[in-house]
């Protein structure tokens, strides 16, 4: 896992909310912050850590744009409180590319296959798919199997056809097909 220094946005703190100390590992770096109990993990990632690759679409679990990996498995960061992630190992889309060395196999396949247009949904798709690709489970690469893998993520641009192509391409690139 590549460890990079995380940006620290200077957000003025003028809230009267109580604060809870949380410590978690984010993309290989340990971070500690004091957060309001009502801070969503998605807002923690974007506003506290400045990692804006995690997108927020619906804030009620439906669109999948905010999907991240918590302890290796995919989760909606908009339906998780930052305090619930205390002690967790978190990965966001920023963890996928190996610095300047290159894109992850899934990212490369998405780029090659024209699987994104505006790109708003893409981080969520990549993180949800990363769980499937990292698990030892066999991948069902039929159209139906791939569509099921991505069923929890909405895309308003592509019509999904090229996302299906990209998943198959990623499986090919990683020797999983």
């Amino acid at each position: 896992m590549n460890a990079r220094a995380l940006p620290r946005p200077q957000i003025p703190v003028n809230s009267a909310d109580p604060r809870h100390a949380v410590t978690l590992t984010v993309n290989g770096v340990e971070v500690s912050r004091e957060v309001s109990p009502r801070m969503l993990l998605s807002d923690f990632i974007r506003h506290e850590l400045g990692l804006t690759g995690t997108h927020v679409g619906c804030e009620h679990g439906v669109c999948g744009a905010c999907t991240v990996l918590i302890d290796g498995v995919s989760a909606r960061s908009c339906l998780t409180l930052a305090v619930q992630a205390d002690g967790a190992e978190l990965r966001t889309v920023e963890a996928l590319a190996d610095g300047d060395a290159g894109l992850s196999v899934l990212q490369q396949a998405f780029a090659e296959s024209h699987a994104l247009q505006c790109g708003y949904c893409t981080p969520g798709f990549l993180m949800a798919l990363t769980e499937h690709f990292e698990s030892g489970d066999p991948l069902d690469l039929s159209d139906e199997g791939i569509r099921e893998m991505i069923a929890g993520n909405l895309c308003r641009c592509t019509g999904y056809a090229n996302i299906v192509v990209a998943v198959r391409r990623a499986a090919e690139l990683s020797g999983r097909s």
Partner: protein, 291 residues
């Protein structure tokens, strides 16, 4: 939107969670948060206190015993779905879990949370009712168990008192000779069911149905047993005519009103077709079992 302010407590034990719940009438249990946090984001729910039960030791246990599959309150959908021991004694669990939301939501949402949430279109309440399971609760006055038949009262409402914590749910093992099946119709795999039906069927050596249990969700204000369809099947041969007959009887159980997703007439059509399908499938499995 963002949630209104609340106090957050991470309970270390069941006893502490019960105390924290009793102290504040505005308190709510936080399990996976997959329904509650969504409701809080929209301020449809504004609890004054959340009691996180997911780190209570032992609450994340699945125990497969003679009574069936006991699922602790912190067990995530995905953990139960992948549990081979649970699948071996009650294959309906895995079959239904595949339809509960999507993997990222199943990774966080809990089975017991889904029972306590009690959405009328949710799959796991249907399965608990179908296999005659129960929920175990712990409150200031001690513990009790409520059979599924009495636990689900109506959409989003259960027999759980507001100061009680559900500690675990037990899904009994299916009889070894039973055939089973589960089928759901939703617009997209992972959405709540427009209608879903589950079946447990036992046959004698001659292919006669000795016992049939059927339940559905999405068609009423809570998961329901399809008693008239069960009666139509009892003692008969498990053939296509009987399955179709059961389907027609099942349709009479639909009492959901027309809504933005489907009309009542369409739900009657769906439940009839799904019942026909699960009866045929379960009977075929039962016959294979008795051969």
């Amino acid at each position: 939107m963002k949630p209104a302010l609340f106090e957050y407590h991470r309970a270390a034990s069941v006893a502490q969670a019960v105390d924290l719940l009793a102290e504040d009438p505005g308190a709510m249990i936080l399990a996976g948060g997959q329904s509650l946090v969504a409701a809080m984001n929209f301020r449809l729910a504004a609890p004054s206190r959340l009691i996180d039960i997911t780190r209570i030791p032992d609450l994340d246990r699945i125990a497969v015993t003679a009574e069936g599959v006991a699922v602790g309150a912190a067990v995530r959908h995905r953990t139960l779905e992948r549990h081979d021991g649970a699948h071996a004694v009650n294959p309906l669990i895995r079959a239904a879990q595949a339809h509960v939301a999507h993997v990222p939501i199943r990774n966080r949402g809990t089975v017991v949370g889904s029972l306590c949430h009690a959405d009328a279109a949710a799959e796991m309440p249907l399965v608990l009712l179908l296999c005659d399971g129960w929920v175990e609760l712990e409150g200031p006055g001690g513990n009790r168990r409520i059979p599924a038949e009495q636990f689900f009262r109506m959409h989003l409402t259960t027999a759980r008192a507001s100061d009680e914590l559900a500690t675990r749910a037990v899904f009994p093992a299916l009889p070894p000779d039973a055939g089973w099946a589960f089928a759901e119709f939703a617009r997209r795999k992972g959405d709540y069911a427009i209608a879903a039906v589950g079946a447990i069927v036992q046959c004698d050596a001659g292919g006669r149905i000795t016992r049939a249990r059927l339940a559905a969700c999405g068609i009423s204000s809570k998961p329901v047993r399809l008693g008239r369809a069960e009666a139509a099947l009892a003692g008969g041969t498990a053939d296509a005519t009987a399955a179709a007959e059961a389907g027609r009887a099942a349709a009479t159980h639909v009492d959901a009103a027309d809504d933005s997703i489907a009309t009542a007439a369409y739900r009657r059509h769906l439940v009839a077709a799904l019942t026909e399908r699960v009866v045929a499938e379960a009977a075929a499995r039962a016959r294979r079992g008795t051969e």
